[in-house]
Amino acid sequence: MEFLFVLLQAVADYGSMGAAVGAGLAVIGAGIGIGNIGGHAMEAIARQPEAGSMIRSNMIVAAALVEGVAFFAIVICLLIIL
C-alpha cells in the first residue's frame, strides 16, 4: 500500500497519469464490447452456417461503431497529454 503511495508521489504529473488510466479504461470497454459481438456472432454462425456472410458483415459494422466510441476516449486522452 505504501509502495503505491510512493509511486503516486513520484509520478506527480497527475494530468498525464489520468490520461494514461483513461486510455486503459477505454480499451477495457472496447475489448469487452467487441469480444461480446464476436462471441455472439460465432454462436450465430454455428447455429446457421448458411447465414455466415450476412452475420460477418453485420458483426464488422457493429464492431466499427463500438470502436468509434472507444476512439473518442483515446482522442480526449491524447488531447490531455499534448
Partner: protein, 366 residues
C-alpha cells in the same frame, strides 16, 4: 476516348502535379527535429516528435533524410497578412523552419507550433494562411487519381456496351454494385436511392482512396489526409447538410414529438425527448467526423510507434537495434494489413451511416 478528352485530363493532371516538380532541397547545416546533438556528438532519437511530424501537416513534403541532409519537396506558401499584404513564395525560403522570410516564420512552440506566424511589433500573429501544404497537395493528387480512374471506367462502359467488363472496370464494378445494392437500396428504398447514390459513391471512394494513400510510405502517398480533422469535418458537414435539406415532415415530427414515448417526457417544463433528439441531429455527424479521424490517426500512430521501436532499441545498443528490427518489421507488416482492412471498414461505415441517416430523414410515415 477522344483526343480532346485525353488532352483535358492530361492537362489537369499536369497542373496538379506541377506543384510538386519543385527542386529537392539539400541543406547541410540543418539538424532535423527528431535528432539532437548530445554532448558527446551522438544523436538522440525522440519518438514523440518523429510521430507528430509524420501524422501532421507541414509546409514542405519531406521525402528522406540522408545523414544530416533533408530531401523534401518545397510547397507554395500563400499568406495574406493585414499588416504587410499578400506573400507568395516557396517554403524552401524557410530552410525547414529555421529562418524567417519577409517577416514570416514557422513558430517553434506555443499554440501556433508548426504554423506560419508574423512578428508584428512585440507579438506574433497568425495571418490568413491559404498555403498549399502537404495535405492540400495530397488532396489534389487524390482528386486527380479519382478523376482519372472513374472517367476512364465511365468511358469504358459507354464504349463497350453490352460486353463483359474488362480491366479497371472489373475492379470497380463489384465495389460500385456493392454500395448501390447493399448500402443505398437497403437504406433508402427502391424509390429514392438513385438521387443519393452519386453522393454515397463519391464519399466511399474518396475516403477509401485517401485512407489507402495514407498507408503508402513514399510520395505521392503517406500524407494522412483522412487523419486531418478538417477534412473529416467537411465530409460530416456535407452529410449533415444533405440530411437536413432532404428531411421531410415526418422527420421533424418524430424529433419534436417522438411516437411511443410517454407524454410527460415530451412536454414543457422539461421536454427531455425533443432536447435529446435535437442534440442527436448534431451529434450524429460529429461522431462520423471523430470516428474516421481517430481511426486513421490512431492507426498511423501505432505503426510509427512500432517503427520507432527499432531506433529506441538502437539507442541502447546496435545489436539490440538489429534484433528489435526483426520483431518491429513483423509487427509493422501485420499492422499494415490490419490498416488496409480498417481503411475499407471505415469508408464502408461512413457511407453506410450516411445512407442510414438520409434514409431515416426521408422515410415515409408508417
Amino acid at each position: 476516348m477522344t483526343s480532346f478528352g485525353k488532352f483535358v485530363i492530361t492537362a489537369t493532371l499536369l497542373i496538379f502535379v506541377s506543384f510538386a516538380t519543385g527542386y529537392a532541397q539539400h541543406d547541410d547545416t540543418h539538424k532535423s527535429t527528431e535528432m539532437h546533438e548530445t554532448e558527446n556528438g551522438r544523436k538522440k532519437f525522440e519518438p514523440g516528435n518523429f510521430i507528430m511530424d509524420h501524422i501532421g501537416d507541414s509546409y514542405e513534403w519531406h521525402i528522406a533524410t540522408v545523414g544530416e541532409k533533408h530531401i523534401s519537396i518545397p510547397l507554395p506558401v500563400i499568406v495574406y497578412s493585414e499588416h504587410t499584404g499578400v506573400h507568395v513564395f516557396m517554403s524552401s525560403h524557410f530552410h525547414h523552419g529555421h529562418e524567417s522570410y519577409e517577416g514570416l516564420s514557422i513558430a517553434k512552440e506555443g499554440e501556433n507550433k508548426g504554423r506560419i506566424v508574423e512578428a508584428v511589433g512585440n507579438e506574433t500573429l497568425r495571418p490568413y494562411d491559404i498555403s498549399i501544404t502537404k495535405n492540400t497537395l495530397s488532396l489534389f493528387i487524390s482528386i486527380a487519381l479519382i478523376l482519372w480512374i472513374f472517367i476512364s471506367v465511365a468511358k469504358a462502359y459507354s464504349r463497350r456496351k453490352g460486353q463483359a467488363p474488362k480491366g479497371l472496370q472489373s475492379m470497380m464494378e463489384p465495389l460500385i454494385l456493392f454500395i448501390r445494392d447493399d448500402v443505398a437500396k437497403e437504406s433508402l428504398g427502391e424509390k429514392k436511392y438513385k438521387k443519393f447514390t452519386p453522393y454515397l459513391l463519391s464519399i466511399f471512394f474518396f475516403i477509401l482512396l485517401n485512407n489507402m494513400l495514407g498507408l503508402v510510405p513514399i510520395f505521392p502517398g503517406g500524407a494522412n489526409l483522412t487523419g486531418n480533422i478538417a477534412i473529416t469535418m467537411i465530409l460530416a458537414l456535407f452529410t449533415f447538410i444533405i440530411t437536413t435539406v432532404n428531411a421531410n415532415k415526418n422527420y421533424w415530427k418524430h424529433i419534436i414529438w417522438a411516437p411511443g414515448v410517454p407524454w410527460w417526457l415530451k412536454v414543457p417544463p422539461l421536454p427531455i425527448m425533443p432536447l435529446v433528439e435535437i442534440m442527436g441531429i448534431f451529434i450524429k455527424p460529429f461522431v462520423l467526423m471523430v470516428r474516421l479521424f481517430a481511426n486513421m490517426t490512431a492507426g498511423h500512430i501505432v505503426a510509427l510507434g512500432f517503427f520507432s521501436l527499432i531506433f529506441i532499441f538502437g539507442e541502447i545498443s546496435v545489436g539490440a537495434g538489429y534484433g528489435g528490427a526483426v520483431f518491429s518489421v513483423a509487427f509493422t507488416t501485420f499492422l499494415f494489413f490490419l490498416e488496409i482492412l480498417v481503411a475499407f471498414i471505415q469508408a464502408y461505415v461512413f457511407t453506410l451511416l450516411t445512407a442510414l441517416y438520409v434514409g431515416m430523414a426521408t422515410e415515409e410515415s408508417h
